[in-house]
Symmetry: C2
Subunit: 166 residues, 2 copies
């Protein structure tokens, strides 16, 4: 636990993480993660990158992208440009009551974001990772798990797991 927190703090420091550089906002209107990520307006209306199914967590997910991200995907531009944002919508999966052998979204689990800002997030591949559960930012410990996994697995795709599903 202790080591995790220390690592996270070190990573954030390395990323030039300065609270003072965030736009002014009260806790009441914008909640930010420890990594400084907020919930982007209108993200539920973004276009689809791809769905996925995670068995060990019993979840269905969809990755959406804002216009900058979708343009990069469609033109196969890597790395993603600053301003690209990916959103992961996560649901517990539920057996369809009406169709055999089929799972559909059940309870929402949360939503996660990757925000590209090469300078601000230089210490984590240029990406700010943010997780929200019930609209509330997850804690530092949870945020410390994002980057190490992306870093270990998807360097050749600008640290992004999800490919555009054609």
């Amino acid at each position: 636990m202790r080591r995790y927190s220390t690592t996270v703090v070190a990573l954030l420091a390395a990323a030039g993480f300065l609270f003072s550089s965030f736009p002014a906002a009260t806790a009441a209107d914008v909640a930010a993660t420890p990594t400084g990520v907020t919930i982007p307006k209108g993200y539920r209306n973004w276009q689809v990158v791809a769905p996925s199914q995670r068995d060990d967590m019993d979840q269905l997910r969809v990755i959406l992208g804002n216009d900058i991200a979708m343009k990069a995907y469609r033109s196969k531009t890597l790395p993603f440009p600053d301003g690209a944002i990916l959103a992961k919508l996560i649901w517990k999966r539920a057996k369809s009551a009406e169709f055999d052998n089929t799972f559909v979204p059940g309870e929402p689990v949360g939503v996660e974001f990757m925000v590209k800002d090469a300078k601000k997030y230089a210490g984590t591949g240029g990406w700010g990772f943010g997780r929200f559960v019930n609209g509330k930012p997850a804690d530092e410990k949870q945020h410390g798990t994002c980057w190490p996994c992306h870093q270990a697995n998807v360097k050749e795709n600008d640290w992004v797991f999800t490919r555009y599903a054609r």
Copy 2:
């Protein structure tokens, strides 16, 4: 086989299915299903209704909706108004090479549409069902399987299986 075709023909006739009422188009520019459904322009950019996972077919799917459909979903308007279109994108699922216990879209299987036109498709709940594989319309037999299943299972949701995933 014979009986199927006969049923389909009967259903289409009941729906007031008239080739002469379709907009003029050559086979080269617009391919229509036997039910008269064409691939709507820009459907891949539509917003997400929900993802799903179908185990017996080893597939991942995403249902998208055009603006009219999404507005109806969000305002909980049933039946869907004329002009609403739903698109189902279907992929064979593939094990992620980079993340355990996770499936992602593999090869595309096809795309299906439900087009709301209460008058034109009066015989099939007001919906025109269309299936395309590799951009080509499926045959009459395949189209004959859509409506009976929707009819049997989701009357209370205007014959639509997929609910909006919040």
